[in-house]
């Protein structure tokens, strides 16, 4: 039921707004596509600040580290990026999405 099951989870978009209001540089990552058994549903968010602090989840921990690294670059140049992680991609094994799924994550700066 979309948001209904996410009630107990953190309000990532609310955190993004609050961080931005505090003057922090902020990027938002969103799961935009999944194939196979992806750990987090489409629409899941991760918010990252310029120092690499993050809240939320796009993969239940598998690829967050890589997404945070890319987010720092997005914050730097303001250019959104579409990232893919999955079993077909060797780097996916390195970042550990071993759950058999593939995900696409869109990372953008909050201007």
């Amino acid at each position: 039921m979309g948001d209904a099951l996410d009630l107990s989870e953190k309000d990532v978009l609310g955190i993004a707004e609050a961080w931005r209001r505090d003057g922090r540089a902020v990027a938002l990552a969103t799961v935009v596509e999944t194939w196979g058994s992806a750990p987090r549903p489409i629409g899941s968010h991760l918010v990252i600040d310029g120092d690499g602090h993050f809240e939320g989840s796009v993969s239940g921990g598998c690829v967050e580290g890589a997404v945070v690294g890319e987010a720092i670059d997005v914050i730097g140049d303001g250019r959104p990026r579409l990232l893919e992680f999955g079993v077909a991609d060797e780097t996916a094994w390195r970042v550990g999405l071993s759950c058999g799924g593939r995900i696409a994550v869109y990372v953008e700066r909050i201007d």
Binding site: M1, G2, D3, A4, L5, L7, L13, G14, A16, E17, R20, L28, T30, V32, E33, P41, I42, G43, P80, L82, Y106, E108, R109, I110, D111
Partner: protein, 235 residues
């Protein structure tokens, strides 16, 4: 993402209004679409209407080969039960499993006890003492009136219809409901709104026991939520 757009999006979410953010993944262009303002002429109209009902975010390919991502924000559905009766005891846990936030209101303190409704927000009060102050009604809040007592049921039924609740169900036979219709009409409730009341309550599955009736009611509420006509919430 524009900061102002994020603030608007969060304000809509806090106000329990459905909204979709449309993002062009190639260009970063974005816009917000409120369910209440969905334009039939919108090139994504049918797609957006379907997404408001399913509450599922996802990718859409445009005619010119572009890729748009739709982030769908629909308020968590709530179910307000008027009447802390047997049916409600079965309905409350089932509805919570199905993803509804459940609240129970019944001024009869013999019924509205913690022991009968463990862990469920419970108000042993008259509905007009808690609605709308403590329990709000809106398009994403359904109302189930099952006390069998017009003094308790009628008022919240009228308020739920006014609020555009996606589901308003009322217990009672056809005869009982005919009298209810007379009372609500006399009270000035819009006849079209009265026609939205699901009565006798629940899908017709031949339910007998309180738990079976609860299944019929929950199924009907889910059907009302997922099959509701587009932008009905705004009417």
């Amino acid at each position: 993402m524009d900061r102002g757009l994020l603030e608007t999006l969060n304000a809509e979410r806090r106000a329990r209004r459905a909204v979709i953010r449309v993002t062009n993944l190639a260009t970063g262009a974005e816009r917000l679409v409120r369910e209440a303002e969905l334009d039939p002429a919108d090139p994504l109209g049918a797609e957006l209407a379907g997404r408001f009902r399913s509450a599922k975010s996802g990718m859409v390919e445009t005619a010119d080969g572009g890729r748009l991502f739709l982030t769908v924000h629909v308020p968590p559905p709530r179910l307000v039960c008027i009447g802390a009766v047997h049916i409600t005891q079965a309905l409350a846990p089932m509805a919570r499993m199905a993803g509804f936030d459940v609240t129970v209101i019944d001024p009869r303190t013999a019924f509205a006890t913690e022991a009968r409704f463990e862990g469920v927000p419970l108000y042993p009060d008259w509905p007009d003492d808690v609605i709308p102050g403590k329990v709000g009604l809106d398009a994403y809040t359904g109302l189930v009136a099952v006390t069998h007592d017009p003094k308790i049921d009628d008022w919240p039924i009228a308020r739920a219809l006014e609020a555009g609740s996606f589901y308003v169900g009322a217990l009672g036979s056809r005869k009982t409901h005919a009298k209810r219709v007379e009372r609500l009409t006399a009270a000035g409730v819009d006849p079209a709104a009265i026609g939205r009341i699901a009565a006798p309550i629940g899908l017709d599955i031949g339910a007998q026991s309180p738990a079976e009736i609860a299944v019929a009611v929950l199924a009907q509420a889910i059907q009302a939520l997922r099959r509701r006509p587009a932008a009905d919430a705004a009417s």
